[in-house]
């Protein structure tokens, strides 16, 4: 195990940010800390980095007891949401910073910086100032800067949170590929379930200072251990008193065995999907959401006002 967190508690005044958190993060993997804002995931990451101290509990990094080690002695790479670029230094100087602090020979520093700038596709920007880069480029620079010190773990705090949707998606895929090349143990914080599902090997869902579930993206999506995890990882709707995903409900245009009768109230097409709001024809007349494909909608000729029968399909 690369990072061992045992019994960590943290309060800010009356607010409990972390409540007895225990977590093992495996070596060489890409782990996502996922949860709503204010749930404690960033605090946990900052405690691992030494940017914050736990009230109690211990942090062990690569077998070294780090609980009382200051940030500069942990050999941890940290990437901030707002880049934390050294504004008065060129891109190359930013990346070289950690190596110069470690008093590495000039030639070695130069070589390493060139290599890393190549890795993050910023070679031609080496002499620019951070203010002359786009947000995405700044974040890649920050990543190269963190990787330069060959950290035992790489920590990213909402690394793409300040970027616009398109750049965020590109950087996400790029981070995944980069990790497959570099293989450094990586932990990143996000509140975006899609980001976590797409990039991570393992996801830790954190809410209200506690860990809700740990598992692979598939496990979490298919077998959420509770309603919170289920609803946080994707859209849900209530059917027969249970949470179901809207696309895990099969729709029939004719009565079927165990089929729940309902009537289509509204429909909305979003690209390939069609979202249906259907009114259950039981006593409560509840309205629930069902998602079908465009092809299903066509073949069944679903339209507002039609009667349908619903069957949940999830395992």
């Amino acid at each position: 195990m690369s990072i061992e967190i045992t019994g960590v508690n943290k309060r800010f005044g009356d607010f409990v940010a972390l409540d007895n958190v225990n977590l093992s993060i495996p070596t060489g993997q890409l782990t996502a800390l996922l949860g709503p804002s204010g749930g404690g995931k960033s605090t946990l990451l900052r405690i691992i980095a030494g940017l914050e101290n736990a009230d109690s509990g211990s942090v062990v990094i690569e077998g070294t007891e780090a609980t009382n080690l200051p940030a500069q002695k942990r050999n941890v790479g940290f990437v901030f949401q707002h880049y934390a670029a050294f504004k008065h230094m060129s891109v190359a100087k930013n990346v070289a910073f950690g190596l110069e602090i470690r008093k590495r020979p000039k030639a070695e520093v130069k070589e390493k910086v060139e290599e890393l700038l190549g890795l993050v596709h910023l070679s031609q920007f080496a002499d620019r100032l951070p203010s002359q880069l786009s947000g995405g480029q700044r974040q890649r620079m920050a990543l190269a800067r963190a990787l330069a010190i060959e950290p035992s773990v790489l920590l990213l705090d909402e690394p793409f949170g300040a970027l616009d949707a398109k750049v965020r998606k590109e950087l996400r895929e790029w981070l995944r590929r980069l990790h497959d090349e570099v293989h450094v143990t990586t932990v990143f914080v996000t509140h975006d379930q899609e980001e976590a599902l797409e990039v991570a090997d393992e996801i830790v869902v954190i809410n209200e200072g506690r860990i809700e579930q740990i598992g692979s993206p598939d496990t979490l999506y298919d077998a959420p251990s509770n309603d919170f995890v289920m609803s946080f990882l994707g859209p849900t709707t209530q059917l027969n008193g249970a949470l179901v995903r809207p696309h895990d409900i099969e729709v029939f245009a004719h009565p079927v065995e165990n089929g729940i009768p309902a009537r289509i109230a509204r429909e909305l097409r979003v690209g390939f999907d069609v979202r249906l709001w259907v009114e259950l024809l039981d006593a409560a007349h509840e309205e629930i959401q069902v998602t079908v494909t465009r092809a299903t909608q066509r073949s069944l000729a679903l339209a507002e006002g039609n009667d349908v029968w619903l069957v949940p399909t999830s395992a």
């Binding site: 030494g50 940017l51 914050e52 101290n53 736990a54 109690s56």
Partner: protein
């Protein structure tokens, strides 16, 4: 035992200790000494100093003129800030530098500067030296930048959208100014007015040459303090100093209350 990351370490603790010691030796203890000295003669010493007619005249002149000058600055400072921010005309940049001159000029030079235009050698023949007008003039000069410089940035940041929304809702220019712009300027004006008043009641250097320091006529409180110091009566000097400190404090706190009330309502 956990350590707070941004709590003081050994180095920063030492730095704080040295800084606080220096600050105490330089500012806090000397100011405390003034307060202690002012009470040395007890309550009777206090009232004795303040019942002196010459002292009373000096305090009346100082506080009265300071209030008047502050009112003048509220009007002129706001107008100047408005013109500097909203109007584009040749020479506006020079005006911007002129505003800072009273801050930068040594006060004794400020007195001499005003004497050259309003003194015995005035090119247009007015001689206001040694008159009450000279006191007012000197105070207006040294306090000129305060309100301009607090209002200007607020006016620059003021959302043009809000004004446009107001006029699209049918408000005319004056109504927009009174109902939309002015209320957002009030906190800045109040802050500037507080600084302006505090500066005016404590002014000394620019008055020395200009006002003639005539008792009962143009002598202000700080000149009176110097007089007492030179007469080796530091207790009386301290009494007036404390009155000045309290007056500045009262006005600053009062304006702070105004500022808060307005911003809460806004």
């Amino acid at each position: 035992m956990s350590r707070k990351v941004n709590s003081l370490g050994r180095g920063s603790g030492l730095a704080l200790g040295i800084s606080l010691t220096w600050f105490s030796l330089l500012v806090l203890i000397p100011l405390a000494a003034v307060v202690v000295k002012s009470t040395a003669g007890g309550w009777s010493g206090f009232t004795h100093t303040l019942s002196n007619p010459q002292t009373q005249a000096a305090l009346r002149l100082t506080i009265g003129d300071s209030l008047l000058v502050t009112v003048l600055n509220v009007v002129m400072g706001t107008v100047i800030a408005w013109v500097l921010v909203r109007e584009r005309f040749p020479g506006a940049a020079i005006l911007d530098v002129i505003i800072d001159l009273p801050f930068a000029l040594p006060t004794i030079v400020a007195g001499l500067v005003l004497l050259s235009l309003y003194g015995p050698q005035s090119p247009f023949g007015v001689n206001e030296a040694n008159t009450r007008n000279a006191v007012f003039l000197a105070l207006a000069f040294v306090t000129l930048p305060f309100i301009v410089r607090t209002v200007q940035p607020v006016l620059e940041e003021l959302d043009k959208d809000v004004e446009e929304a107001a006029s699209s809702l049918g408000a005319n220019g004056f109504t927009t100014f009174r109902r939309v712009i002015l209320p957002s300027l009030v906190p800045a004006i109040a802050a500037g007015a507080g600084l302006s008043f505090a500066r005016a009641i404590s002014e000394y250097g620019s008055l020395v040459l200009l006002s003639g320091n005539l008792p009962f006529k143009t002598e202000v409180a700080s000149v009176r303090i110097v007089g007492f110091i030179e007469g080796d009566n530091t207790a009386a000097a301290s009494v007036i100093a404390v009155v000045l400190l309290v007056a500045a404090l009262v006005v600053i706190v009062a304006l702070d209350v105004v500022q808060r009330r307005v911003s809460r309502r806004g």
